[in-house]
């Protein structure tokens, strides 16, 4: 059965960059946020790779990425992401990052998905990351699904397979390093992915160039989205880095190892 897979994914600053919050009660941000190199949100990227994998197994499946991000930044990121696998893009030109409101973001995403003319909900699989790397609220995908009327929702998904009868077998992460296995009779369903099991596909410029023929026009007609601020920020700060340095001399390696092991046990 060919699916219509929609992957929701935003951008995150390149993890190696120096991230420094700039406090503004109305509009907090990261210092130089728009100048920093960005990547496709890693959790959403896992969802995308899984979507590509599923599409290969089910000919006729279409993968669409819906992304809310600053358009120019999104274009730069697409130069890498578009090389991974074939997909179409629906771009929403709006603010990204960790200070947007999850409710407003999910409303914008749901509206863009609802507006797709050829959307067939009986074949719809809504993918995304279980949280974003920017804020980690972990609620956007559920909100999008609710707005679209998708009630079959799976969180922290690590594996999806399709049985012969078309039912979806889904492994969700639960506590204690174990998985919960669920069976979903048929789409529509929402899967918010954890890491999945697939490696990052290699870059393939030929695939990218084929993708860009549809991605560039999509970027050009990206709909501007103004997210209504619904949150008041009182303070922004980096998590405090705790560094406890102790200078010791002439301590045998075995003692050092013992101390480290005890510290880990605590």
């Amino acid at each position: 059965m060919p699916y219509q897979i929609i992957v929701c994914g935003g951008l995150a600053p390149d993890p190696l960059q120096t991230l420094e919050p700039v406090f503004d009660p109305a509009k907090p941000s990261l210092k130089n946020e728009l100048m920093l190199p960005a990547v496709f949100d890693p959790w959403a990227a896992h969802a995308l790779y899984e979507a590509g994998h599923l599409a290969k197994q089910h000919p006729g499946t279409v993968v669409r990425v819906v992304s809310l991000a600053p358009k120019a930044k999104l274009q730069q990121v697409m130069m890498t992401v578009a090389q991974k696998m074939p997909f179409e893009l629906v771009a929403l030109d709006g603010p990204g990052g960790g200070f947007t409101d999850a409710a407003a973001v999910s409303a914008a995403l749901a509206e863009a998905i609802s507006a797709m003319a050829d959307l067939d909900r009986s074949r719809l699989l809504l993918f995304g990351g279980w949280e974003s790397a920017t804020r980690g609220a972990g609620v956007v995908m559920q909100r999008v699904a609710e707005r679209l009327g998708i009630t079959e929702q799976f969180l922290a998904v690590d594996e999806l397979s399709v049985d012969a009868d078309g039912s979806l077998v889904i492994k969700e992460r639960i506590e204690g390093g174990r998985h919960q296995i669920s069976r979903c009779a048929a789409p529509p369903a929402m899967l918010a992915w954890a890491t999945g099991n697939l490696p990052e596909p290699p870059n393939h410029p030929q695939t990218g160039m084929a993708n860009m023929r549809v991605i560039m026009p999509a970027l050009q007609k990206a709909k501007p989205v103004a997210l209504e601020p619904a949150i008041e920020y009182l303070r922004t700060a980096l998590p405090a880095a705790v560094r406890q340095t102790r200078v010791v001399k002439d301590v045998p390696a075995a003692d050092i190892a013992r101390e480290i092991a005890e510290w880990i046990r605590q």
């Binding site: 390149d14 120096t18 100048m35 120019a72 890498t80 090389q83 410029p205 030929q206 160039m209």
Partner: protein, 741 residues
């Protein structure tokens, strides 16, 4: 002259320049195929390549399985196929010089050996691509195309031989070709013998394009032939070259003794009176090949310089962090060694040199992209006139040179002041456009190779020195020590510095180039009138001085009556070539920054003004440095060949305007005025204690005036350096390097 000081609050560079800025500056903002190739190559460079270097793969010159695995990475990332046409299995439409330049730049950002390895495959194919017959092109280029489940055939370029042959002079070939069999009515079979030296890709190449000379009266001149590993005879890959650098490329000293059909002669041949006449001799082929590939080599060194900036800034800032004596928040903690002006100024010197060399290299690459289709069209037009290459083509082009000069002259005028119909006709004439572009390319290519690698290696040493002892360890972030050593090879292979200077000394005196150079002076003045802080005016004055000096040297003689500018007088011609390179690199940077200023705001959403201001200051710094170098060289050449006057020539010092008592009188009336006088005689009639009277050369007053003007033009250059250095203190850098160390 105006300086770039401004009353408005100054903006600094906020972050290191990202892809968006580079795409605008290097003119591929509208080429998403190239943008993706950059990302794809970068992932290979900063992933598998960097890991190999970090794991110590450079410690052996043997070609290991780990190094060989890089080839598959290149294939998967589209690097191998980037050189091929779509019908051959490639994916990039049109000329590919800029694409290959970007690949080389990205790989060399981490390791130039990997860049060389990737480009050597293209180099091996280049003779076939540039001069091969259509059949040869389709066959061998398609073989080289990677496809799912199919490993491509890989090529090597075999020109260099053990000394005293091509290892010294490309015209002297030790490799020979003779006719082994020539069946009646059939195709001749050639016997090729060749020993190669320093041949890249030789550890795994499946076929080789080799330069050989005729050893048989039935073959005329030299040629290049394609040798396959399955050909009958000896295809001995030889021992690995014991090189100290570029260890991620496979380099061997092979031996070939093979029999091949004559159809393997690159570009084909004709038979006249029982003699095989190759359509192209090896010289014509390597000229077509190297004039393009040398640009990419130059860009490798540029990438190293620019890649050094982030590790240097991080090292300097973090230098004292972690010490109990330096508390967080203190200037020493925050800025570390950046508190010292010397450190930030030297980083700016490296940065400016890296930017200028990258701008020059990418300008040359784009020029060849422009030239390639024009050249093909020119060949078609000449062929239609019955002119088929060689001397006949040279003569045909020379006949039309005056029209090219006319076109350049008309370009300088507004449409209203020139015959627009005539101008349009010349602008659309492929022969005229070829003459114009070719004259530029013949200068920009050797200039890129010479200056980027030569001066680049000097600046790479500076980068290493700015890391202290850390710089020459394997642990140095950014592999700077390796990059420094590698740059020496880049300055050498594909034609060492002397070869590039020699070529420049010829091509820079081409009237068509000089006409364009004159218009570039005007162009710099125009930019300076709008953006005085770029240093464009300084550069224009230096270009004017260089032009005056060249003209003088072309016509003047030394004190022995020997002509100054002549082929064997490399003490004159080579320094002038060096001076020109400085000027061209600074000009390229100014043009790129002007392009960024005009077109960047549309795509760069934040920090644009700070970035433009910083780059403007870098331009000024580099323009001043270039002007200083050019002025030093020009002054030395103009005055250095004059004989210094001697007291013996003129014992009474006829040129002395004053005697000592007169000077004392003048000094009593106008204190300090004696400083403006020349030589003088003492009370006892003796002259001053020095070598001889001061030099007076009435014919050189124009030079002195230009030189003096240029000295004044340096005003503001060091203020720009101070501003740029301040940006280096303030710019935000990533928390860690994005490749292992």
């Amino acid at each position: 002259m105006a300086s770039s000081t401004s009353a408005s609050p100054r903006e600094h560079l906020q972050t290191l320049p990202g892809d968006d800025i580079r795409q605008v500056m290097w003119r591929f903002a509208d080429r998403y195929d190239l943008q993706m190739l950059v990302q794809s190559t970068r992932a290979v460079a900063r992933g598998p390549v960097a890991r190999l270097v970090a794991e110590g793969a450079r410690h052996t010159h043997d070609w290991t399985a780990e190094k060989h695995a890089l080839l598959e990475e290149f294939d998967a990332a589209g690097i191998t196929a980037a050189y091929l046409e779509p019908e051959e299995g490639g994916f990039l439409e049109g000329p590919k010089n800029l694409a290959l330049a970007l690949i080389a730049f990205e790989l060399a950002w981490v390791d130039a050996g990997a860049a060389t390895g990737s480009l050597a495959t293209h180099l091996g194919l280049a003779p076939i691509h540039e001069r091969g017959t259509p059949e040869q092109r389709l066959h061998y280029m398609s073989l080289a195309a990677p496809a799912p489940g199919k490993e491509p055939k890989r090529a090597a370029f075999a020109l260099t031989e053990p000394i005293p042959y091509v290892g010294v002079e490309t015209g002297m070939l030790g490799g020979k070709v003779r006719i082994a069999e020539w069946p009646e009515g059939g195709e001749p079979v050639l016997e090729v013998s060749k020993r190669g030296r320093f041949i890249t890709n030789m550890a795994f190449a499946n076929f080789v394009t080799a330069a050989v000379d005729s050893d048989d009266p039935r073959i005329k001149g030299s040629c290049m032939v394609i040798l396959e590993e399955t050909d009958p005879g000896i295809f001995d890959r030889g021992t690995p070259t014991r090189k100290l650098v570029h260890q991620l490329s496979a380099t061997n000293d092979p031996v070939f003794q093979l029999r091949v059909p004559a159809s393997r002669i690159v570009g084909g041949y004709t038979v006249k009176d029982g003699v095989i006449i190759p359509n192209y001799d090896h010289g014509a082929i390597i000229e077509a090949v190297f004039r393009r590939t040398r640009v990419t080599v130059g860009l490798m060194t540029s990438a190293k310089l620019l890649s050094a900036i982030e590790p240097l800034i991080r090292y300097h800032r973090d230098r004292f962090r972690g010490s109990e004596a330096v508390s967080p928040g203190s200037p020493r903690y925050e800025l570390g060694l950046q508190q010292k002006e010397d450190v930030t100024h030297r980083v700016i010197d490296i940065w400016a040199a890296g930017e200028a060399s990258a701008s020059l290299g990418f300008a040359a690459a784009r020029l060849f992209d422009q030239l390639d289709p024009v050249e093909r069209e020119k060949d078609r037009v000449l062929a239609a006139q019955g002119v088929h290459g060689g001397l006949a083509a040279v003569k045909a082009l020379r006949k039309r040179q005056h029209e090219a000069l006319e076109f350049i002259e008309m370009q300088a005028h507004s449409a209203a002041l020139r015959g627009e119909e005539r101008f349009e006709r010349l602008a659309h004439d492929p022969v005229i456009q070829y003459i114009v572009l070719d004259a530029q390319a013949n200068v920009l290519c050797p200039a890129t190779k010479l200056w980027n690698t030569g001066h680049g290696s000097v600046m790479m040493r500076e980068a290493v020195s700015l890391m202290g002892g850390y710089g020459i360890t394997e642990d140095c972030p950014g592999f700077l020590g390796y990059k420094w050593m590698d740059s020496q090879l880049e300055a050498t292979y594909e034609g060492p510095e002397a070869v590039q200077r020699r070529q420049l000394s010829l091509t820079m005196t081409n009237e068509v180039f000089l006409a364009q150079f004159r218009s570039w002076i005007h162009e710099m003045r125009q930019i300076a009138s709008i953006e005085p802080g770029t240093g464009a005016c300084t550069l224009a004055s230096a270009m004017h001085l260089w032009q005056w000096t060249l003209n003088h040297l072309l016509h003047a003689a030394d004190s022995h009556g020997q002509k100054l500018y002549q082929s064997n007088r490399q003490g004159v011609t080579f320094p002038m070539a060096d001076a020109l390179c400085w000027l061209l690199a600074a000009r390229s940077l100014i043009l790129d920054v002007e392009h960024l200023r005009r077109h960047g705001a549309e795509v760069i959403q934040q920090g644009f003004q700070g970035a433009v201001q910083f780059f403007t200051d870098l331009c000024h710094v580099q323009a001043a440095r270039a002007a200083g170098e050019a002025a030093r060289i020009c002054t030395e050449l103009v005055f250095g060949y004059l004989r210094h006057p001697s007291w013996d020539d003129d014992p009474q010092c006829a040129t002395c305007s004053f005697n000592e008592p007169e000077l004392r009188q003048i000094e009593s009336v106008v204190p300090g005025a004696s400083g403006f006088t020349g030589d003088y005689l003492r009370d006892d009639g003796a002259h001053e204690t020095k070598a001889g009277p001061c030099v007076r050369a009435p014919g050189l007053t124009d030079f002195s005036r230009l030189r003096s003007k240029l000295d004044g033009c340096l005003a503001g250059a060091l203020l720009a350096k101070d501003r740029a250095a301040e940006s280096v203190q303030k710019v935000m850098i990533p928390a860690a390097l994005d490749y292992p160390q």
